[in-house]
């Protein structure tokens, strides 16, 4: 591409230079938006945008419809308005990182909405699923010994584990399930209310987790520590359904392709996927069905999906056209 040989004096030419740079260096998916002139610097600022298509196929791989996600700026090219020289541009990896951040933000938004709306369902997942998390440990301690002296308890943990416990105690405090005085952790008002309603420890823990999920959905990192793969997998069903504006069924292969393609998961999780699906289905977070070809397919639960759609403040920015 010989961008430097062109003398752009107008917006159109700046856009054209940016277009050829984007298509040649980055790929056919990003595209230039309308250039904005910085008269003082004599620079055209050309935003690089993405607007992903989502192609909905039927059971026979025939396309049903295409929707486009909202457009998003993922970078910028600066072009001299005098010479046409490209003054600055993102590297491919900077652009890629920006795109990944955007896609991750979509996933996060959907997961927050799903945790908020499906809190009760998530809390019904069997506790052994909540491994590697101190949340259950802390709440169990609150419900049995009623206080935890961090100055003593954290000493015996590794630095990493101690930090993790501290972070989760902070999250539980934010949603009102524990209170902290100095180095001592006590049951919070909401946990005390749960205790007052009676029931066994398991039921109280389930209720506490419901509150943690429904009130603490913004603390998505802590919740991911608790729900891990189950949240990621259920989130996929709702993310795609929101993008297509209808509930999308997935067969096992489709869900495997998406789940195992996520950066945090690898092929070693493949064997676990049917179990995750069964467990999510058992608590009503997803539904199973048989498609026209006789395959088992899974999809978002309609009631939860409808309730997520009502969370306009959370998911409004995700709805495409």
């Amino acid at each position: 591409m010989k961008q430097t040989s062109i003398q752009p004096h107008d917006k159109k030419e700046a856009e054209k230079i940016a277009y050829f740079l984007i298509k040649s260096k980055y790929g056919n998916i990003p595209y230039p938006d309308t250039p904005i002139l910085n008269e003082k610097e004599k620079i055209w600022n050309v935003p690089i945008k993405i607007r992903y298509p989502r192609i909905l196929l039927d059971d026979y791989k025939k396309p049903k419809k295409v929707r486009f996600m909202q457009e998003k700026k993922v970078g910028e090219i600066e072009i001299s308005s005098e010479t046409g020289e490209i003054k600055s541009k993102p590297t491919y990896y900077e652009l890629k990182s920006s795109i990944n951040t955007y896609l991750e933000s979509i996933r996060t938004t959907v997961e927050k909405a799903l945790v908020k709306v499906g809190a009760k369902n998530f809390s019904q997942l069997p506790f052994p699923i909540h491994i590697h998390t101190p949340i259950i440990d802390i709440l169990s301690n609150m419900l049995t010994v009623e206080k935890l002296d961090l100055s003593e308890e954290l000493k015996i943990l590794s630095d990493d584990d101690a930090k993790k416990y501290t972070r989760h105690i902070d999250a539980l405090q934010k949603v009102g399930l524990v209170a902290v005085e100095g180095t001592v952790v006590f049951p919070g008002d909401l946990l005390i209310e749960i205790e007052a309603k009676g029931g066994n420890i398991s039921k109280k823990l389930t209720n506490a987790m419901t509150i943690f999920f429904s009130r603490g959905y913004e603390l998505i990192d802590s919740i991911r520590d608790v729900l891990g793969s189950h949240l990621t997998m259920s989130g996929i069903f709702y993310e795609y359904s929101l993008q297509y504006d209808e509930i999308i069924p997935f067969n096992l292969q489709s869900i495997e392709n998406i789940f195992l393609g996520l950066p945090q998961y690898g092929m070693q999780r493949k064997l676990k996927i049917p179990r995750y699906l069964a467990q999510l289905e058992s608590v009503g977070l997803i539904d199973d069905n048989i498609n026209e070809k006789g395959e088992v397919v899974w999809c978002a639960n309609e009631d939860i999906y409808r309730r997520i759609l009502k969370e306009k403040e959370l998911i409004g920015s995700l709805i495409g056209t």
Partner: protein, 239 residues
């Protein structure tokens, strides 16, 4: 029969009425007396060129071209299209170019009425084509150096960046050659600019292009007038 593969570039034509990036496929058939016949195929920004020497120079006669076509009813009307197979893009949004390339390779491999071309067209899967073209998740296919990438991969074609027009595409369709066109798929759908999209032109009527569209399926009719604007957005219209 002696087969020699050579490479040859085609001169750019500057008098196109309306242009777009496309790949062009050219077959140069040369007999022992150095008489040559040349066939071109407009294609997304690139040109395939095969040069080979055969004992008997064979032009593609009408009956041979007709064997590469089929006639069917689409939206209540009879249309004739090239037998280019369709490959869906699935839910991945960055594979339109490689799916279009795959469709054309499959056509030349299985349907094109010339033994030498069929025998020398490789059977490459989508994943391999993605690697060859450096197509990457979420960003798609970059055009920089794409001709060299395809040639280095051993495809027996010469590739060249090139512009095109409806008449030029139609001319090639008439001799049994499909075209990959790049246009703004998002604009065509809802008149909002978005990513570039590739599709294979397999037929043409007065008012419509007939595409194998990796998104929307095989034998997809697009109004030429609407298509033009989506095509022009990709910066290849000459004024």
């Amino acid at each position: 029969m002696e087969l020699v593969l050579k490479m040859q570039k085609k001169k750019e034509s500057s008098d196109h009425i309306r242009t777009n990036i496309h790949i062009e496929v050219r077959f140069l058939i040369e007999d022992k007396l150095n008489r040559r016949e040349e066939y071109s195929c407009p294609y997304f920004q690139l040109t395939f060129i095969i040069i080979y020497i055969v004992n008997n120079n064979r032009e593609l006669g009408l009956s041979m071209i007709n064997s590469m076509r089929r006639t069917m009813t689409v939206q209540g009307e009879r249309v004739t299209v090239l037998k280019v197979p369709w490959f869906p893009q699935s839910d991945s949004d960055w594979k339109c170019f490689v799916c279009s390339l795959k469709m054309c390779l499959e056509y030349f491999k299985n349907e094109y009425n010339n033994d030498i071309i069929r025998q020398n067209t490789p059977n490459l899967d989508i994943e391999t084509l993605m690697k060859i073209t450096h197509t990457r998740k979420n960003t798609g296919t970059p055009t920089e150096g794409i001709c060299k990438k395809l040639e280095k991969a051993g495809l027996p074609f010469k590739f060249q960046l090139k512009s095109s027009s409806f008449p030029e595409i139609e001319e090639k369709l008439n001799v049994g050659l499909p075209a990959i066109v790049i246009y703004n798929g998002s604009y065509l759908k809802d008149e909002r600019r978005g990513p570039s999209h590739a599709g294979v032109v397999i037929g043409m009527r007065d008012d419509d292009l007939i595409l194998n569209n990796p998104w929307f399926g095989a034998i997809y009719l697009v109004d030429k007038f609407k298509f033009e604007r989506a095509w022009e957005l990709e910066y290849f219209k000459l004024s």
